[in-house]
Symmetry: C2
């Protein structure tokens, strides 16, 4: 995040803060920011823009901790993967003189830590900005420019719309990958080939980050688990009945839907053939 800002906005001063002393030290050694503050209030006290990049459940506390230190007119955003609660906590905790909108840059990998920092993290990616009727328009324009300069194509959504869509495209795949790993014995997996490796990849993501994502998007995620469970039951019933036509129908439907998705992504140049 900070490296991407330093590269794309070289005259901007990037002040980093993290609560762990050792991580602050490493961040200074690796020079991932112009400056690494030792206090959270110090890190935001002269900021034009504050980007919170911590697990979602910490936003409530962090917004509270920075509220009094924010300069008048400061824009606050976050890069969390769920948005309804982030907006709620911002409304509750941040002063009226600071302007909040949510950001969700769809970037990153299952790797985590300051060692994996990359300055091209956002190139060719999409960033969702979440806004409500209460959101300050100028703040949205500034954030739109900020993410564009970092290389993102920016899309606007409401927090509710965001959380519904991301439950389906992101949180459910994570849950399925985790369930696939947990349902199997590692000894039995030694012959696993690329199919298994790909299907389970996202399960290597950080557990604490993902726990917060699932907790803060509980209803959408639970509805998704119910839909997946129903689809698994359909396949099970067809297999149990040795109903070849029905199994083929279900697999063809899945194949057709994925083909439509891949075609769309290729047309948008978001996937390379």
């Amino acid at each position: 995040m900070t490296l991407a800002i330093l590269r794309s906005l070289p005259r901007v001063k990037v002040v980093g803060y993290t609560h762990r002393t050792a991580t602050r030290r490493r961040a200074r050694q690796l020079a991932v920011a112009t400056e690494v503050a030792s206090e959270i209030t110090e890190s935001v006290s002269r900021a034009d823009l504050v980007v919170v990049a911590t697990p979602v459940c910490s936003f409530d506390e962090i917004f509270g901790a920075i509220a009094d230190a924010l300069p008048v007119g400061c824009i606050v955003t976050d890069v969390g993967s769920t948005k309804v609660l982030a907006h709620r906590w911002a409304t509750k905790r941040l002063p009226k003189t600071a302007y909040y909108a949510g950001s969700h840059p769809i970037a990153g990998s299952e790797q985590r830590g300051v060692e994996f920092a990359r300055d091209d993290l956002f190139e060719q990616t999409t960033c969702i900005l979440t806004t409500t009727k209460q959101t300050n328009r100028k703040a949205v324009q500034t954030l739109r420019r900020f993410w564009s300069i970092l290389g993102c194509s920016v899309k606007l959504m409401t927090p509710a719309e965001h959380d519904r869509i991301f439950a389906n495209i992101s949180h459910l795949p994570h849950i399925m990958a985790a369930a696939l790993m947990n349902a199997n014995d590692v000894e039995e997996l030694k012959l696993a080939s690329q199919g298994f490796i790909d299907t389970s990849r996202v399960a290597s993501g950080p557990a604490n980050i993902w726990a917060d994502v699932l907790l803060t998007n509980a209803n959408n995620t639970i509805r998704g688990i119910d839909r997946i469970t129903a689809e698994l039951a359909k396949l099970k019933t067809a297999i149990k009945a040795q109903n070849k036509r029905q199994i083929e129908k279900l697999l063809e439907k899945a194949r057709d839907k994925r083909r439509a998705l891949i075609n769309y992504k290729m047309k948008k140049r978001e996937l390379i053939p």
Copy 2:
């Protein structure tokens, strides 16, 4: 398959057969075999080795169709993804003068058709040979050499062991990918990023091939679906209860298991970091 044999065993005569006239014509145009026979019996009548590469459920009929045309001492194998029924059908249909063992080269992609034929398909892959107490030892030695020459590292298993393991590492990921696609609306998936694309990739495999795989490995697959459903229910319960510690525990378990798998694969040089 045939291209790989032609490249690795240039002095071997490869006779192809497929029941579709148009595919035979294309196979001749693309020269994927030394010769393409117009009758199935003709394709095997002078063979030392017969490789059946059709959907699993067709083996019963195909073994029956070739039985009388097989030369004495001919070795018969198949490249299907399930093995218990393949062995049962071979025992029932093939003459005692022909020697059967199952093969499962773990290669190929979700693409299919003679246009996607590749002569390096088996390089750096594993091929499982399935054998029972009845299997002819010399036939196993010949098949072992055959697959080794094509570039495979060969492993022996019983058909039952094979089908149990492949239900877990291959058939279940396919079912999950299909369920994930079918549980979602394509319109809602337009923002899907690499995580979703990877998790769902195997759902693009051919429906008729996979229907046969699931039908012929029904019990193992159903047991797998039940285990996955139980794991999904555990996650759902923890999310519903907003039990952060329990969600983290389940996600950490999945992450640890996948790390162990990836480490094993890297040590065996089956995955490049």
